[in-house]
Symmetry: C2
Subunit: 253 residues, 2 copies
Amino acid sequence: MAITHTQPRFSSKLTSQCQNCSLSALCLPIALADEDINRLDQIIERKKPLKKGEFLFRQGDNFDSLYAVRSGTLKTYNITSLGEEQITGFYCPSELLGLSGIDSSSYPVSAKALETTTVCEIPFSHLEELSTQIPSLKHQIFKIMSRKISDDQQMMVLLGKKNADEKVASFLLNLSNRFKRRGYSASSFRLSMSRGEIGNYLGLAVETVSRVITRFQKNELIHVDGKEIEIVNFEEMQKLVGVAHDCDKIAHF
Amino acid sequence: MAITHTQPRFSSKLTSQCQNCSLSALCLPIALADEDINRLDQIIERKKPLKKGEFLFRQGDNFDSLYAVRSGTLKTYNITSLGEEQITGFYCPSELLGLSGIDSSSYPVSAKALETTTVCEIPFSHLEELSTQIPSLKHQIFKIMSRKISDDQQMMVLLGKKNADEKVASFLLNLSNRFKRRGYSASSFRLSMSRGEIGNYLGLAVETVSRVITRFQKNELIHVDGKEIEIVNFEEMQKLVGVAHDCDKIAHF
DNA sequence: CTGGTAGCCTGACACAGATCAATAAACTTA
DNA sequence: TAAGTTTATTGATCTGTGTCAGGCTACCAG
C-alpha cells in the first residue's frame, strides 16, 4: 500500500516515506489524513532487494505479510499436480502481492523475482489492527481485494473464451495500461518475462506466443526487438481485444 | 454471511435467525459472540424468492449489497465485447455473491437464478460499519475475500492447463465437495445448470461436455440420468483431476 | 577465443476439441 | 393431448494450436 521510489534505505528512522513516494497515489487512492499515513508508514518495512530468480515467498510458507512492489517485477505461480508451474500473475511497481494467503494462513502460491526487485513488506496483523482504527484504510483494503477479484475474473474470460491473437493482444495492452498508470510510456516498454512465461500465463505454447508476436510485427501492429515492445497501432490492437466501446451490442436478457 | 434454512419469512421482527440457521457454521466459521450474531442478524434482509431466469443484479447496477444464497443456485457472468456471455461462477447455498462490486461501486457481472432461489441481502455499508465495531467480523470478511481470490486462481489453472476430461472431472468433484460441506451427499446430486452453461464456464463446447460425460458413464466413473449425477468411482475421478497426494513430485527450484 | 546453455524463432505434422448437421429427448404452453 | 421450443446426444469433418525437431542468437564461464 505504501511504497517509496527513492533509493532503498533500511533505516527505520526514516518515517513518512509513503508521503514522498511517487507511487502513493496508486497505493492510497483515497487520501488518508497525514497522521494516518504516518501510522501506516511505521508498520511498513523496506526490504533489501531480491535478485532475479529469488523467492519473495513460497507456496506453503506461513502467511505473515502483504508486499507492495517498489521496483522490478515478480511472478506468482502454482505448482500443478503434475509438477508443472502455472503462472497466476505478474506484479509491477505499486501492485500488491499476497492477498490469497489471508484465508489459509499460508501462501497458496510462490512469488519469484523476474529481475532485481524491491518490495515494501506490510505485516498483515499490524495492517489489520491499524485498519480497525482507520475505517478508510479498511475500506481501501476491501476495495483492493475486490478489484483483484474482478481482475481475476477478467482473466478467466480471457483464458476461457479468447484465441491466441486475442490473448497476446490483451496481455500487451494490459501491460501498457499498467505502465501508463505509473507514469511511464504506454506505447514503449520492456517485457521482464520470457516468452515461455507469457505462454504459461496465457495458456499457450511458447511457439504460439512467438508466432503471434512475429505476425503482429509483420502486420505493423507492434514493433519488437527481443524484450523491447513498441505498440504501433493501438486501434487495431484494441479491436483485436474487443474493447468496451462497441457495448451497444450488449443486451440484457 | 448469515443464512437461515427455515421457510422464507419476511417479518423483520424475527431476529436471531442466523443462530438457528443450519448454514451459519459455514457463514460464520469463527464463532461470533451471541450478541454480535444478533447485531449482524439485524442488518440482514431476507428477500423474496427469485424464479428461474430472474436477475439478482445486473452488470452495471449500483453496488449496495452482498448476497448469501439460502436455497437454490445462481450463476454470475460477464458479457464479452462480442456480446457472448462468459460465466464466471456458480453459487450454491451458503455461498456469498457480489464481492467484485465493492471496488467500482457497480457490479461488474450479472447474477441470474438457475432455479427458484432465495437469498439473504447484506447491505454492504451496514456490514462495513459493523465490521468496524467487531474486529473478528472484519477478519472474517478479509478471509472470505482472500478465499475467493485463491479459488479464482485455481480456476485460472483449470482453464489454462487442463484438458476437457480434467475440466469436467474437476467441475464435478468441486460440486461434490460443496454439497458435502453443506451436509448433502457427496456422491449423488442434481446439476442445476445446463450442459451449455457447464461448457461456457469451463471453456468447452456443449458437445464436448456431453461427450465427456457420456464417456465417463461408459467407463463407470459416474452414473448420469439427465441432470442427476452419481459419482461412482471417486478414486479414478481424483486421479483425472490430479489430486494433491502426489505432491512429492513437487520441487522448489 | 571456445564450448555450453538458455531463449527465441520457424517449419512440418498431429490431434484435441470446435463446428456443422441431424436426431432425440425433455420441457412448456395451450 | 399436441405443437412448439429448448436441451442433450451423436456422428462427420475441420481447424487452431500443441508438439517435435532443427537452427539461430546472445550470453556466460573458463
